[in-house]
């Protein structure tokens, strides 16, 4: 039963992480930017849901309101900062988004205070097998919404005009430009969509966990790892690696103890990277 609990907890957690990683994979693939402020966008989205909750609106509505607001926040960040670093070295984009991350943390702290807060959904609990496996309904809700948004994104990328433009730009920005795609607009939209996904995830996190102005970084790191493990541009891979990571974390927690939870995730990352390198080196070809 403990095993089943761990697997289910891990899966539900992983699906939520995967949603954040989706956004990161998208803008990393399209714009070649590693967004260190990803987690801070998530937290900001969480605060939107929290404030709705404070004013008596059910925080679940946050999953609709938060992405709309966050889309515009994303576009504004793009116009102010990101468009200046988009074609530059990866290192510069890391520095720039790191700056945004610090700025966001301080602004959120200034505006919302340093207290740890949460939004209560009042969703209750699903109990299985005579109360030996318990699943908070808020977590199930989170996972469900995450899946809906993830599928929605994939469909949107395949079918819509903007989606096609985004994919074209990701493949070859110059060629896309020549063929009449306004890459500037595509970049802004991509960053906006990423921020909107963060907004959804944030609203879900405020319902399932807690939020705090300085809690963004772990979400950035997790999504970074999920994307690395899955590989760029591999959206189903992101979903799989997100869930896998969630389950892996839970088991590491049970078997090794909570203190090794994050550590074991990093260890896994190192192992995967070493394995990748090993595989690559065997396939290495030389130009003569």
């Amino acid at each position: 039963m403990l095993t089943l609990q761990a697997v289910l907890d891990g899966l539900l957690l992983g699906i939520l992480f995967a949603l954040i990683a989706y956004g990161m994979a998208l803008q990393w693939g399209v714009m070649n930017i590693i967004n260190i402020a990803q987690g801070d966008l998530v937290i900001l989205g969480g605060y939107i849901a929290y404030f709705m909750y404070l004013y008596g609106i059910h925080p679940a509505w946050g999953v609709i309101v938060s992405p709309i607001i966050m889309y515009f926040v994303g576009v504004v960040i793009y116009k102010l900062v990101i468009n200046k670093v988009v074609d530059r070295d990866l290192f510069i984009s890391i520095l720039a988004t790191f700056g945004i991350s610090i700025l966001f943390m301080q602004l959120m702290n200034f505006a919302f205070g340093a207290d740890v807060v949460l939004a209560n959904s009042g969703y209750g609990t699903t109990m299985l097998f005579d109360n030996s496996v318990t699943l908070p309904n808020s977590k199930i809700f989170s996972a469900f919404i995450s899946i809906v948004f993830a599928i929605g994104l994939v469909v949107y990328m395949k079918k819509s005009k903007l989606g096609r433009a985004i994919r074209a730009t990701a493949q070859n920005a110059r060629a896309a430009k020549i063929l009449g795609v306004d890459t500037e607009k595509v970049y802004a939209a991509t960053f906006g969509i990423n921020a909107a996904l963060c907004g959804v995830a944030g609203a879900l996190i405020s319902i399932t966990f807690t939020i705090h102005p300085y809690m963004g970084l772990p979400y950035t790191i997790r999504s970074f790892m999920i994307v690395i493990v899955a590989g760029l541009g591999n959206l189903p891979g992101v979903a799989m690696s997100g869930m896998g990571l969630g389950v892996f974390e839970e088991f590491a927690d049970y078997i090794l103890g909570t203190e090794f939870r994050i550590g074991s995730v990093f260890l896994l990352l190192v192992l995967i990277l070493v394995y990748r390198r090993f595989k690559l080196s065997r396939k290495r070809e030389y130009l003569k």
């Binding site: 403990l2 740890v116 939870r261």
Partner: protein, 412 residues
């Protein structure tokens, strides 16, 4: 052009010289005793930093209004120079250095949190500046042999001692089975050491001993283990985040434990954020307004709480009360030393033996207050869902009877 540059340099040099000499304070200016404090007004500790500052300010105003401090036949008033340490230990140490060497402060008040106090203590010690602190409870502060550090609060290892002892007592003197989860920071790990001591003393067994990473906001794995092994007591300490996460997930996962003991319930506003789900949680507290300690300045806890609420608009958490007490200690020491000599004030501080509205204060060799026990309160809610914190242990101060064991979730 060259001359212009020289003039600009000259003028700015004079300006800088002038500005530093103007802001430079001495320890005592006119009728003012100037204390220095680096406090977290921004950054992650800012809410508790503000509680600390409010506590200091309220006590300064009160002492000044009620006649000030009498030293050498003259009356003095308190004044505090504050700097914002941004919740950053390095910055706090720099600011302490600046307060002492640039602003000429010779007496310091402590910052918020053990971590920041740890950063400042070596600096005040180096300059021989007496520091009375009210918000650093980590045991390691008191084992370093600091001579100029005095803490009005009980050390962290005593926070949840009482809970284990109470559980053992209720178990007919037999040892209990303890599950514990502590954040990996100086304070929480000290609380853990206290539990380990108490467990050994009472013959109790620790069956789960998890360390929570700082960034963790999910305790589901720990709680699933708790559900499986059914301990007699569950102890959680991880600042406000730990308290909020624990209550949320215990309620969601319907974890039944006979006793749940925590820290930081006050700061987390548990009952406000979680309502009835937080019911029956036992919380360690340095102070509670219903305690009946008395002094001449604030009368007692209830009066202090009422006055504080009038000024700042919220019920004082213990962080504010202990900060106010720090000023009372300073006043008492200045008057007994009858001097502003740092050594004499330090010796007077070491001899402190007084009662304040916050509790008795008497310092041990290491500087910690040994005369004030921790109290435990339990969150109790009425049928309408209104929750209150009631002191349940130690029995001497109890205002309500401990509810034990906690009713099962299925019966609530």
């Amino acid at each position: 052009m060259k001359i212009k540059n020289i003039i600009i340099t000259f003028v700015s040099a004079i300006a800088i010289l002038f500005s530093t000499s103007v802001v430079s304070f001495a320890k005592v200016v006119g009728d003012k005793i100037i204390l220095g404090a680096a406090i977290s007004l921004t950054g992650k500790y800012s809410s508790n930093g503000v509680h600390t500052q409010n506590g200091y300010n309220m006590a300064v105003d009160r002492i000044n209004d009620m006649g000030g401090i009498k030293v050498g036949g003259k009356t003095y008033k308190f004044d505090i120079i504050y700097y914002d340490d941004e919740s950053n230990p390095k910055r706090a140490a720099q600011l302490a250095e600046r307060l002492i060497s640039q602003d000429g402060v010779e007496f310091m008040l402590g910052p918020y949190s053990s971590g920041l106090t740890k950063a400042i203590a070596p600096v005040t010690e180096k300059y021989g500046v007496p520091m009375v602190e009210a918000n650093g409870a980590s045991r390691s502060l008191f084992t370093k042999g600091y001579k100029y550090l005095f803490a009005v609060l009980a050390p962290a290892n005593l926070y949840l001692d009482v809970a284990i002892e109470t559980a053992v007592e209720l178990n007919g003197g037999k040892g209990v089975r303890i599950a514990q989860a502590f954040e990996q920071d100086a304070f929480s790990q000290d609380v853990r050491l206290g539990i380990l001591d108490a467990a050994e003393r009472t013959g109790s067994k620790i069956i789960i001993d998890d360390k929570l990473p700082k960034e963790l906001n999910d305790m589901a794995a720990t709680l699933a283990k708790v559900k499986a092994v059914k301990p007699d007591v569950l102890v959680v300490s991880g600042h406000t985040k730990g308290a909020l996460t624990a209550i949320r997930q215990i309620a969601e996962m319907k974890v039944d434990v006979p006793m749940l003991a925590m820290t930081h319930c006050d700061a987390a506003k548990l009952s406000k954020q979680h309502g009835k789900n937080s019911q029956y949680a036992l919380c360690a507290s340095q102070w509670h307004k219903t305690l009946t300690y008395k002094d001449d300045f604030f009368k007692d806890g209830m009066t202090y709480a009422a006055d504080f609420e009038k000024l700042f608009g919220y019920d004082p958490p213990y962080q504010s009360a202990e900060s106010s007490a720090a000023l009372l200690v300073f006043k008492d020491a200045f008057e007994r030393a009858n001097s502003f000599d740092q050594k004499k004030v330090r010796d007077a501080l070491a001899d402190t033996n007084m009662q304040t509205f916050y509790g008795n204060i008497k310092f041990a060799e290491g500087g910690q207050n040994v005369d004030k026990p921790m109290v435990l309160f339990q969150v109790m809610c009425d049928d309408a869902g209104k929750c209150e914190n009631k002191v349940v242990a130690p029995l001497k101060w109890a205002s309500a009877e401990l509810i034990h064991p906690i009713p099962k979730w299925s019966e609530r």
